[in-house]
């Protein structure tokens, strides 16, 4: 580290967070641009436990101050959260900074919430970047309201900083490897139904693909859970696998929004409580798979999920805005305060749409001899087909709508032309396409859905 660090300001508050295992995060900081003193660090969070590298408080302060470099030129719209990402080989660290404006002591200030990791963790961190940023962005939205009210933002930020430290620590030990050996999955069974029921496997994979590859697998037996987790991960891209987590053998991790597949262990009573708010905040709808009772449930498709998510976020922020006391925040409280939006807690529903794509794949793959590379090859062919179909669908819509300039009105033609007349098949391909082009579901299916929601709201208000 540079020896020329400025002396540490005695005013910097610091929280040490106890983290189980090795946390790759070195520190998190909250800094702001003081109109008189320039960049100032307000708070530092550091993990307490095994660390890959040590940074002194002075070094952390030095780095955090510099995250505001050049931000005097910032001309973003009010409320915008911009992301800066530094890889500083000279310091051996990577810094992720979220720059936003907030009110401190009656002045509008530019602020930066940053997390610092060793540069050696770059490859580990990059796949998780979007998850971290999206979660931090939302906590900043909440924090800005708190700042506006003159309350202490640090307590709000801590609500997300600590779980992110835990998430990164858990991913360090339990993330799914990029390359999965098919032998560790259900697809290596001699015959379909050897380790799980045929229809269950079909439903699980189909729903998993329909929900953009986002699934939670719960069960009492960690080996069984992890086998399904690995099986589902076979259908993900390598980077998505790095955003998936196996379940811990002895105790369960908490649910983490944003991971693609995560295995969760039931407690001794045979239950697992899912935090409603966080499941709703996942970027994609989720499939819930219980390996104990062989059930598969799924959340509504992307456009509905996104709509519900945004309404919930708006409700949550409105509730905070209307809060009168600083003590009224709780991280996972289900918001009921907004009269215009009552969340439907029964968000997981049965898989309604059958498909032919996964069905025929499951039927056929078990015909090939296990233990060889035949099944892997066949799986690769299946995935290639799905990716190509998704791209074709995207291109078809692009052509039809002149890149979104015109509304899409020819879903029936699309289904016929691209051989997607079976609803489940269309859902799977749309889910793949949604990952390529965010907002596609809303664009294609949104209008009627929003209209129906409007109707419902109007009817309810009579």
């Amino acid at each position: 580290m540079s020896s020329g660090c400025p002396p540490q300001s005695p005013a910097v508050a610091k929280s040490e967070v106890v983290i189980e295992g090795e946390c790759p995060l070195l520190a998190a900081t909250f800094a702001y641009w003081d109109n008189i003193l320039g960049p100032r660090v307000r708070h530092i969070w550091t993990p307490k436990g095994d660390q890959l590298m040590f940074l002194s408080d002075g070094e952390v302060t030095f780095l955090a101050n510099h995250t505001l470099n050049g931000e005097i030129l910032r001309s973003a719209e009010c409320g915008a959260v911009d992301v800066k990402f530094f890889v500083l080989a000279e310091k051996g660290v990577i810094i992720v900074s979220l720059i936003f404006d907030g009110e401190l002591k009656g002045d509008k200030n530019t602020c930066a919430l940053s997390i610092i990791l060793p540069q050696t963790e770059l490859a580990f961190y990059l796949p998780l970047h979007t998850i971290c940023v999206e979660r931090l962005k939302h906590v900043i939205r909440r924090g800005r309201i708190w700042m506006q009210k003159g309350y202490n933002i640090i307590s709000v930020l801590s609500l997300e900083i600590v779980p992110i430290m835990e998430l990164l620590a858990s991913m360090k030990t339990h993330s799914v490897p990029e390359e999965i050996d098919i032998k560790d999955t259900v697809l290596n069974d001699d015959d379909i139904g050897d380790s799980c029921h045929e229809d269950f496997l079909h439903k699980a994979i189909s729903s998993h693909l329909q929900t953009c590859g986002c699934s939670i697998v719960v069960g009492s037996n960690p080996e069984k859970v992890n086998k399904i987790v690995r099986t589902l991960c076979l259908f993900l891209a390598p980077a998505e696998r790095k955003c998936s987590r196996l379940c811990k053998a002895d105790s369960s991790f908490k649910y983490d929004a944003g991971l693609f597949v995560q295995g969760l262990l039931k407690d001794s009573t045979g239950s697992f409580v899912l935090p409603f708010r966080q499941v709703l905040y996942s970027p994609y709808p989720t499939t819930h798979i219980d390996v104990d009772i062989n059930t598969v449930k799924q959340m509504p498709p992307c456009h509905e999920h996104t709509y519900n998510q945004r309404r919930y976020m708006r409700s949550e922020l409105t509730a905070l805005w209307k809060t009168d006391s600083e003590d009224d925040i709780a991280p996972d409280t289900v918001i009921h305060t907004d009269e215009t939006f009552t969340p439907d807690l029964n968000i997981f529903q049965d898989v309604m749409h059958k498909d032919t794509l996964v069905k025929s794949f499951i039927d056929e793959v078990f015909m090939l001899k296990p233990g060889l590379s035949l099944r892997s090859t066949y799986l690769a062919q299946f995935l290639l087909l799905l990716h190509r179909k998704a791209l074709t669908l995207l291109k078809y819509i692009e052509d039809e709508t002149q890149k979104g300039k015109k509304p899409f009105r020819s879903l029936r033609n699309l289904k016929t032309d691209l051989d997607l007349t079976v609803e489940g098949d269309l859902n799977i391909i749309m889910a793949f396409a949604e990952k390529l082009r965010a907002g596609l579901h809303s664009f294609v299916f949104g209008k009627p859905f929003f209209t129906s929601m409007q109707e419902r709201d109007v009817l309810m208000s009579f």
Binding site: F85, R314, L317, W321, E364, S442
Partner: protein, 939 residues
């Protein structure tokens, strides 16, 4: 009844994009939009930036004018549009972290160069819709403040996700560019130091001389003000000399410093070269006479002049000992440098060695090109390649070649130097997604000399002679020969039960009976039993060369034994090592999973042996080959073959004879020549101008363009489905027409449907202006045939009618198709003229996915073991055949005609798998003909 349009009018507006301000509600800036722009247009979020497409910006933090843009790639003002480059340069340069110490550190007598690692930053301007990956670096400049000039290279895009998702690749590419610039800069800096030192030494000697003269002229105890000034100046120059020597020393130590950046890309060759240069300079200037020694009073003026001449007129001696004029003449300089604003700062080109600068710009241009386009297409293309790499067993059917450079695309770019290793690694940097096949010329030049050059030359000459004689022979000779064989075929077929038959051409290479790899009698009987009675043998192939190398049957017939002899003698003689190498390449198969009808079918015999067995004693067995081995087990073997045989790299790859296990191969040159001769027979120079890219890989662009043609064909011709079925089921399709352009376009479009078209499309003949033979039909699956009104034309029509039972004829002029009827459903999705697909590129994507599905089904059919093997010893071939048919009909839901497609694809896969040496030549080994009456389809 209240309908939805009535209700909409009553709904609250605030939820639907028209904010209705509520004085007690949360302000929008603290909330999230319920319907962001992306919901209404997912393409919109990348379209509000003021620039039209991504570009690379090089900026500098100038000590005179502050941050300024220097260069954009592409260098087109339209790209940047109204985007304010000055403002953006200011923004990206102000986040630099490299503000490390420069100048005189405390306690140090000399200025120190700061060796700072590059930093990488991703930042954005959400208001402008511009995001950038910024790579900061510092270059050395002797005249700059602290000797450093901060620069940055930025990849600017409107899509933030694109940058973050490709961060590692961007980082790698820009690190390469940065290292290239810095390597050039160190050289330039060392040269600048050299010049400066020369100037200083020269100035020092002049000053010293003047001072000496003054001292001698004046009284010993008195020093005039002028003399004192001179003495101070001299001291300053001396100090400056020491400082610059130290800088030279420092820059030469650059290479020894530990790197702190784990992601830095360094070229060892560049480093070593630069290091040796610096050390050379250092040594040179250390050897120079110490400036202080000029105080020797004993030296006379003449000697000093000589000394001055040593600096000023130093002659350079090159390697040949020839004296050349010096490249630089030292000048008298002032010890103190000019003030900051008085001097002109060096340009980036001047700061770096020209070669390195140009290499960097080239590298950045390639980077810009490779990251060009929408993220979803880039992302899918990468996934596509990654997945295709896992299914190399079937890739040959419909997929383009996966080049070597593709290996590096998935985040595994090899460290590379734009200057020194440009020849070795140029393929890495060529934009991989577009090039689908290797450039034969480049490959040829890069290939190691053939091991069998001697044999090649001999065969070359011999073959030329043979072909010449062949050229002289009348067409009727050829037709007679093929007529005979076809008659024979007809005769044998007439006894068959089924109307369908397949002809398999055989290799004429007879296996060495003494070889261990020769199959024994038992195997032969097994294979005989395996073959179906419906699949008949033809004698036509026996007379001809290998399926893959069937250019001119007569010539090859004559040449092959001699070649084999030549080659054998060659191997025995000079190239023992080569022979060993080749035999080493023949890795025995893992036979653990090989099963035969009664146990193991190909027990202990590698695929080459199988192929020889087929060709020698049981030719029809090829039809019923069963794959019982794990595909991966063969892949290295295939690769190894590729080393020994240039099949995969040669433009005429598919025309080459396979390298057999017994070593009976034909040299590459001879085959190439053979193919050229054939071309001269049939098409002359037309072939080179084929839109299908003969002699080189077909590019993605060409394929997409062909997609457009295919869509037009499908829309225009109601019998398109029948034509596609012919192609996909292995029946040769002849496109007949008088307009060359139209025929070529049709052929290019239809070529997309030819299974296993060969690496360079050698199964497709775009334009043929002479009669063809049965051999041609076996070699080509799609032929464009000229319709001419002349004697030649009549012979062509004769050949058409002669072979009409084996081929389908698409008449481009009459717009008719003559082929067997097809009523299947498998192709309905890609061949319906009622499709609403608008663009050729979209149709091409649709086609790709459909063909991918077909290939997958064929793979499944081929490698589902129990289908092809008897469950018990009592089970006869009829039962097995029934099971296969049942699988196709019931499991895959295919009708009789659709099954033919799968069967054909499966045969190709089997042969490709079991006879990897033939590579794409597998397709030529079969041609189907059908006794079902052909039907004439009209528009």
């Amino acid at each position: 009844m209240i309908g939805s349009p009535d209700l909409v009018a009553f709904t609250k507006e605030d939820e639907y994009g028209h904010p209705n301000p509520d004085p007690w509600g949360i302000p929008e800036e603290f909330s999230v939009p319920l319907h962001p722009l992306a919901d209404f247009n997912p393409w919109a979020k990348t379209s509000y930036a003021k620039f039209t497409k991504d570009f690379i910006l090089i900026s500098e933090f100038s000590e005179q004018v502050g941050p300024q843009p220097l260069l954009t790639i592409p260098d087109d003002p339209k790209v940047c549009g109204t985007f304010d480059l000055n403002y953006f340069s200011l923004r990206i340069m102000s986040v630099d972290y490299q503000a490390s110490f420069v100048g005189h550190p405390p306690g140090s007598g000399y200025p120190r160069l700061s060796f700072v690692e590059d930093s990488r930053v991703v930042l954005g301007d959400s208001k402008e819709g511009a995001f950038a990956y910024v790579h900061h670096l510092t270059l050395y400049d002797l005249e700059a403040r602290g000797f450093v000039r901060p620069f940055c290279m930025a990849y600017v895009s409107a899509d933030e996700r694109k940058i973050m998702l490709q961060f590692e690749e961007l980082s790698l590419r820009f690190s390469q560019a940065s290292e290239c610039l810095k390597a050039g800069n160190r050289r330039a800096f060392a040269k600048e130091l050299q010049r400066k030192l020369r100037d200083l030494e020269y100035t020092h000697s002049v000053l010293q001389k003047e001072e000496g003269l003054q001292r001698e002229a004046g009284p010993q105890t008195m020093y005039s003000a002028h003399a004192v000034e001179k003495a101070n100046e001299l001291a300053n120059v001396e100090k400056s000399i020491y400082e610059h020597r130290d800088l030279l020393k420092q820059i030469s130590l650059y290479h020894h410093r530990p790197r702190r950046d784990p992601h830095a890309v360094t070229c060892q060759k560049c480093m070593n070269e630069c290091l040796s240069e610096c050390e050379e300079l250092l040594e040179k200037y250390a050897k120079l006479a110490n400036p202080i020694s000029y105080n020797n009073k004993g030296r006379n003026v003449g000697e000093e002049r000589d000394q001055v001449d040593d600096f000023g007129g130093e002659e350079e001696v090159d390697d040949d000992g020839v004296k050349r004029r010096p490249s630089y003449t030292p000048q008298l300089i002032k010890a103190k440098s000019a003030k900051c604003f008085d001097k002109r700062l060096k340009t980036l080109q001047e700061l770096c060695d020209e070669t390195f600068y140009q290499a960097t710009v080239r590298l950045l241009k390639e980077t810009e090109k490779s990251f060009r386009g929408d993220l979803c297409y880039l992302h899918t293309r990468r996934l596509d390649k990654m997945l295709r790499r896992k299914q190399q067993v079937t890739n040959f059917l419909f997929e383009e070649e996966l080049g070597e450079d593709d290996e590096n695309e998935w985040g595994n770019l090899r460290p590379f130097c734009a200057v020194n290793h440009v020849v070795d690694n140029c393929t890495i940097l060529n934009p991989p997604p577009i090039v689908l096949g290797p450039d034969p010329h480049e490959l040829d030049s890069l290939e190691p000399p053939d091991l069998l050059d001697l044999a090649s030359e001999i065969s070359h000459t011999q073959e030329l002679g043979v072909v010449e004689s062949h050229l002289e022979s009348s067409p009727s000779d050829q037709t007679l020969e093929t007529q005979e064989s076809s008659e024979e075929t007809k005769g044998s077929l007439s006894s068959g039960k089924s109307g369908r038959s397949q002809t398999t051409r055989q290799q004429n290479q007879t296996p060495d009976p003494d070889s261990d790899l020769t199959p024994d009698r038992d195997h032969n009987t097994d294979l005989e039993r395996e073959s179906s009675s419906e699949e008949m043998e033809t004698t036509a192939g026996e007379e001809e060369g290998d399926s893959g190398g069937d250019q001119t049957p007569v010539s090859l017939l004559e040449v092959v034994p001699e070649l084999a002899g030549d080659r054998d003698s060659d191997c025995e003689g000079a190239t023992d090592g080569a022979c060993e190498l080749q035999s080493d390449l023949l890795v025995p198969l893992d036979t653990a999973c090989c099963m035969s009808q009664e146990g193991f079918l190909y027990e202990a015999s590698p695929p080459e042996a199988v192929s020889h067995l087929d060709h020698s004693s049981n030719p029809q067995s090829c039809d019923t080959l069963v794959v019982n081995q794990e595909p991966q087990a063969l892949l290295p073997l295939q690769d190894d073959y590729a080393v020994g045989s240039p099949c995969s790299e040669s433009p005429t790859a598919g025309l080459e004879l396979p390298v057999g296990s017994l070593g009976d191969t034909i040299s590459r040159t001879s085959i190439e020549e053979g193919s050229d001769c054939t071309m001269s027979v049939s098409t002359g120079s037309e072939r080179a101008a084929s839109p299908l890219g003969y002699g080189r890989g077909v590019t993605l662009r060409q394929r997409k363009k062909a997609g457009q043609g295919a869509l037009r064909f499908v829309r225009q011709y109601p019998f398109a489905m029948q034509a596609l079925w012919c192609l996909l089921s292995g029946r040769t399709l002849v496109v007949l027409g008088s307009d060359e352009g139209r025929v070529r376009r049709l052929v290019a479009a239809l070529a997309l449907f030819v299974p296993g078209p060969g690496k360079c499309g050698e199964r497709v003949q775009a334009w043929l202006s002479c009669p063809f033979t049965l051999t041609d039909l076996q070699r080509w699956k799609l032929v464009g045939l000229q319709r001419v009104a002349s004697p030649v034309g009549s012979s062509m029509l004769y050949s058409l009618s002669r072979y009409s039972r084996y081929i389908s004829i698409l008449d481009a002029d009459q717009k008719t198709l003559r082929c067997p009827p097809y009523c299947g459903q498998l192709l309905a999705n890609i061949a319906t003229h009622r499709t609403y697909i608008r663009r050729g590129s979209t149709y091409f994507l649709h086609l790709q996915s459909t063909l991918c599905r077909l290939a997958a089904k064929a793979f499944l059919f081929t490698f589902t073991h129990h289908l092809h093997l008897p469950v018990s010893s009592t089970e006869g071939p009829e039962v097995v055949e029934g099971r296969r048919r049942c699988f196709l009909q019931e499991q895959l839901g295919l009708g009789e005609e659709d099954s033919l497609i799968l069967l054909y694809l499966s045969q190709l896969i089997t042969q490709h798998y079991l006879q990897p040496a033939t590579g794409g030549g597998a397709a030529a080994s079969y041609f189907n003909f059908d006794y079902t009456t052909s039907v004439l389809y009209k528009i």
